[in-house]
Amino acid sequence: MPELTYREALRQALREEMLRDPSVYVIGEEVGRFEGPYKVTQGLFKEFGPRRVKEAPIAEEGFMGIGVGSAMLGLRPVVEIMTLNFILVAIDMVINHAAKVRYMFGGQLKVPMVIRTPGGSGKQLTAQHSQSFEGWFANTPGLKVVAPSNPADAKGLLKSAIRDDDPVLFLENLTIYNQRGEVPDGDYVVPIGLAAVPRVGTDLTIVSHSYATVRALQVAERFAEEGISVEVVDLRSLRPLDMETVVKSVRKTHRVLCVEEGWPTYGVSAEIAARVSKACFAELDAPVERVGGAEVSMPYARPLENAAQVNNEKIYAAARSVLAESGMLKRGILTANR
């Protein structure tokens, strides 16, 4: 299987879908001659031209609205928002329009639109450019929200999103654009609403999405060296949410830690915790634990930024506390050489 970066996998999916379906077009800032603010659309303008790769001025509400209106007439726009932070000036078009059209009009119109945008924090980008709002969007009926954590899922989910007849917020992540991984050739499609279990384990479940999954897998590796078996559930899709896979894992491990890059209060991890608590109340050996970004505006100085972000140390510590809470560490069931 060929190895591609997350960025290349997205580009491949876009290109293949544009070749497959003439109603698919890309619209956004700097997506054409500039070749994409993060180079995801590199080469597409040269191949498909200005009609299908529409270079928009800085007017997010305007071109998001164009996406919605053109989708109502049957096109399949892929709207690129340079980063998730800038979607706030267009949020009326997403929540009040894209998400409402089908229902408000009694099922007579649809909005088959994808909004591609990277979120996340890091690289000292500071308060207005380091945010994770995916939970706000996943809160809204009428939208679908997906957040792949690796190149293969990036390709497969983007293809599904483009073919979907409902509006999909497709969350990418700045930190993992360069991450490499095996990506199946050809028409590889990952269904929306299906979580993955990239690491199987028996002692603790970590539930995460996007970049948090990359970290969760690293932490799981560290626990393995200590003889503790961690299972990682990568949600991939936030709405719909594959609770079957989460619950199946928790019923096996009886311990769960939810990790997200964003603020945990009212966040994705809060949703998972509530649903797991109901579905697995009798089977939990410890309360559901959560870890997320510090609830501050992202600061600039490196030591402060490091302190505000989720990192492997914080995930590790939170996981240890779940294990300790359940009595697992105290009872000495787990040892370094088990």
């Binding site: 001025p57 053109s70 009009f105």
Partner: protein, 363 residues
């Protein structure tokens, strides 16, 4: 108000008698439909917000009445007249106001969210000015696919001060999209006058910033509105040139049925506008030209009266939507299997998207 004198456009005198009668009937129908709607609202058969077109009939008939089957229409929430003017069934409009399954949006939208997909009326939108980028998107789609026709987008005077107006008009202009923007300037956004809200109260001038043909017409004169609209539609269709049209008019009623419309404007102003009632003016013109006489006017009124009564009867007799279908249409039912794995841990309707699976105490 109004210190702004409308610049009269010479009416196109070469309109067929049949077309003149059609426009007249359309205006009488809208007026009567809205009067009866107001009455039904006070009888508590209609809920929510309810914005009436009374007094603005010439702007509706002159603009919407000029669309062809290739064109598309987007509007705001003062939309009852728009749906009637595209030729929609009064029954389906009234049934929607009554919240019935037989309504234009199957009882999901209500007064502000009428639509008629078959006749290319794509809503009925509730956020001031937000329909403008959507309409530009529809024009983009026409252009993308090389289809004939144009998009008309109607909005009120207050919409010109919201960002979506600027972004929408700018995008339409830089991309040469076939879209005619129409300001229905009834002098007030709720209770805020145009002078209070707009640094440049000559709203049509806003279009000049986007280098698009822009003009103002007397919105009480249906033929003037029609002439300007047709000219601008032709530009949009044939030359991919977007344009802005301002129609000066007046709403006799308040902003919505809940607003008496008295506290922010003097009675004499209301009276002055009523003296130039668009239906009376048009009727006089048609009588002078020998196109209408007493008998013809009476026939139209009787026909419309019966039609609106029939719409009310139909709405009353129509079934309510079934709560079993509460979750139907929130997503594409064909994609409902995407949600099949959400059952564990307190589902909130995710398993009922197909609309036939309402059970398990979910409501």
């Amino acid at each position: 108000m109004s210190t702004i004198a409308p610049s009269r456009t010479t009416p196109d005198l070469h309109v067929s008698d049949e077309e003149l009668r059609r426009l007249y009937r359309m205006m009488v129908q809208i007026r009567r439909f809205e009067e009866r709607t107001e009455e039904q609202y006070t009888r508590d058969r209609i809920g929510g917000y309810c914005h009436l077109n009374i007094g603005e009939e010439a702007t509706v008939a002159g603009t919407v009445g000029s669309l062809t089957s290739d064109d598309y229409l987007f509007g705001g929430y003062r939309d009852h007249g728009l749906s009637l003017a595209v030729g929609g069934s009064p029954r389906a409009v009234m049934a929607e106001l009554f919240g019935k399954e037989t309504g234009q949006a199957h009882g999901r939208g209500g007064s502000m969210h009428l639509l008629d997909v078959k006749r290319h009326f794509l809503g009925g939108w509730g956020i001031v000015g937000a329909q403008i980028p959507l309409a530009v998107g529809a024009a983009f789609a026409l252009d993308y696919e090389g289809r004939p026709g144009a998009v008309m987008c109607l909005f009120g005077d207050a919409a010109v001060n919201i960002g979506a107006f600027h972004e929408g008009l700018n995008l339409a202009a830089i991309w040469n999209l076939p879209c005619v923007f129409v300001i229905t300037n009834n002098l007030y956004g709720m209770g805020t006058s145009v002078e209070m809200a707009s640094a440049e109260p000559d709203l049509w001038k806003r279009g000049q910033a986007y280098r698009m043909p822009s003009e103002r017409v007397d919105g009480q004169d249906v033929l003037a509105v029609r002439e300007a609209t047709q000219r601008l539609l032709r530009l949009a269709r044939e030359e991919r040139q977007p344009a802005l049209l301002e129609c000066l008019t007046y709403r006799y009623r308040g902003h919505s049925v809940a607003d008496p419309g008295k506290s922010y404007r003097p009675q004499e102003e209301i009276d002055r506008w009523r003296d130039r009632d668009p239906i009376v003016l048009f009727e006089q013109t048609l009588r002078t030209r020998g196109i209408l006489d007493d008998a013809a006017v009476e026939a139209v009124r009787a026909e419309v009266e019966a039609e609106v009564q029939d719409a009310i009867d139909y709405a009353l007799a129509s079934p309510d939507p079934d709560p079993k279908d509460l979750y139907l249409h929130i997503y594409d039912p064909k994609g409902a299997s995407d949600f099949d794995r959400m059952g564990e841990g307190a589902p909130f309707g995710e398993l009922s998207i197909r609309g036939t699976n309402w059970a398990n105490g979910e409501a």
